[in-house]
């Protein structure tokens, strides 16, 4: 598609963990280079331990990379590897959604507010934010009786749909998914896949990790292969 422009360009991204107490260095991701385009899905593939999740966390700034650049295109472009903390927080709030198998939310918060939170965080008044949240929850077919309950007791499939609804509610430019359908039943997985397709259609750039090769084949426009960091690099 000639219309699609890069939203994110990752270049030479490397990350290793230094555990000071044990004098150990654990190489994690090595020299990852790829781009993610608007309206397209880039799948990160590779064996367990190749650093797929690590790459997403570096983009989100949960991990600090050792080398490489992570350019979020825009005016001006932002290097998430080196920008200051506030710029990273602002990119999180406005541009990037990150959905894992785990729902990170405040305990005791009703589902509709969990989903509305990214909007209230950028100053959208609560009633409007809740309305947008309800639209997302309906799209993902989450039973209405659950909307006012905190998600702590939800099933894996329900929780994952809440997670995705929250990721999409503020219309991010970049959506990152780490095994979004892991451990879901067929129906829940289908709903999640449909939501991913709809997001792509709406022009969101998606970077995803799927454990199921069939999903990669069905959803990915671009595939990036990561290999496990060389053992030789393990010596501190």
């Amino acid at each position: 598609m000639s219309l699609s422009h890069p939203v994110l360009s990752v270049s030479g991204l490397s990350k290793a963990f230094t555990i000071h107490q044990q004098g150990k260095r654990i190489p994690s991701a090595q020299d990852a280079t790829f781009a993610v385009h608007a309206g397209r899905l880039t799948a990160l593939v590779g064996p367990s331990g190749a650093g797929k999740s690590t790459v997403l966390k570096c983009i989100y700034r949960t991990y600090l990379p050792q080398a490489g650049s992570i350019i979020l295109h825009g005016d001006p472009p932002l290097d998430l590897a080196t920008c200051d903390e506030h710029a990273a927080l602002r990119a999180r709030a406005r541009d990037i959604a990150y959905v894992t198998q785990f729902l990170h939310c405040l305990p005791r918060q009703p589902t509709v507010d969990v989903v509305a939170a990214p909007l209230t965080a950028i100053g959208v008044p609560l009633p409007q934010a809740r309305e947008a949240a309800r639209i997302r929850l309906r799209e993902l077919d989450l039973p209405e009786r659950l909307w006012d309950v905190a998600p702590a007791t939800f099933s894996g499939g329900e929780r994952q749909r809440v997670n995705l609804a929250r990721g999409l509610v503020h219309r991010p430019r970049l959506l990152m998914l780490d095994e979004p359908t892991a451990s879901l039943d067929r129906r829940s997985a289908d709903l999640v896949v449909a939501a991913i397709r709809a997001a792509k259609q709406a022009g969101v750039a998606i970077l995803a990790i799927f454990h199921d090769p069939a999903l990669v084949a069905a959803l990915a426009d671009d595939v990036v292969e990561l290999s496990r960091p060389a053992e030789a690099a393990c010596a501190a």
């Binding site: 107490q21 949960t62 903390e85 005791r108 209230t120 965080a121 100053g123």
Partner: protein, 283 residues
Amino acid sequence: MIDRIQDGPVIEAQGLTRIHGRGCPDCVRLTGDVHGRNVCPACGSVVAVAEVSFRLWPGEILGVMGESGSGKSSVVRLLHLDDRPSAGTVRFRESHGRAHDLASIDEAEARRLRDTRFGMVHQNPHLGLNFGVSAGGNIAERLLCCGERRFHAIREAALGLLDRTEVPRARIDHQPGQFSGGMQQRLQIARALAPNPELLLLDEVTTGLDLSVQARILDLILSIQRDLGVAMVVVTHDLGVVRLLAGRTMVLRHGRVVESGLTDQILEDPQHPYTQQLVMSAL
């Protein structure tokens, strides 16, 4: 609120240092994390904080973590003008744009800022509340400082603040000594919020309380952030508290900042050996 970031920081601290004692030219050089002490071996002075720099933005919650004696309360006391730095500057910018250097401000102006622009909540409610007057009186004292004189307006505002902090209205005429620990902390928060402050400082507000009581206070702090957008500094030695409340966290040890960053980065990818140890031991 993230979108208020472009307004510029509320607080900008640069090289904040506080030395207790007569001090000598080597106090800072001979103390700190690399030396594993905060007492100067040359002169015996206590270097409570040294070379601490950070910024705090409107609507942001900054977590300050560290073990006992690391300097957390000292930083808060300097921000609240209960103490003055030996070196360094603190710029405080009021929302309408007026900026102050807190390090060199005179006492009258300091009092005005404490009374009208800042709110402070202490671990020990005896430091933050007047136990000789009622709950309503505690809030009224602060409103009077802001120039409110009308009895009804004060009573209404006090009731509103009690609602906000979930202290039953019926308790307005009771003295804080009759309150539970959790309710005393909520009353402290009500009192701190009375002047509609731009900076709220919370020093170990949940320490020593039951878990369910803690949870209620943490929820309250989050709702204050969401609804009022006031900038906060939250001091704690509890990783769970910063995880829940703070977008960014600063880790202190022997009076120095050993690491600062986004809170999830501090917890999931700590860089400094001390932070790694702190995070490991909490798992």
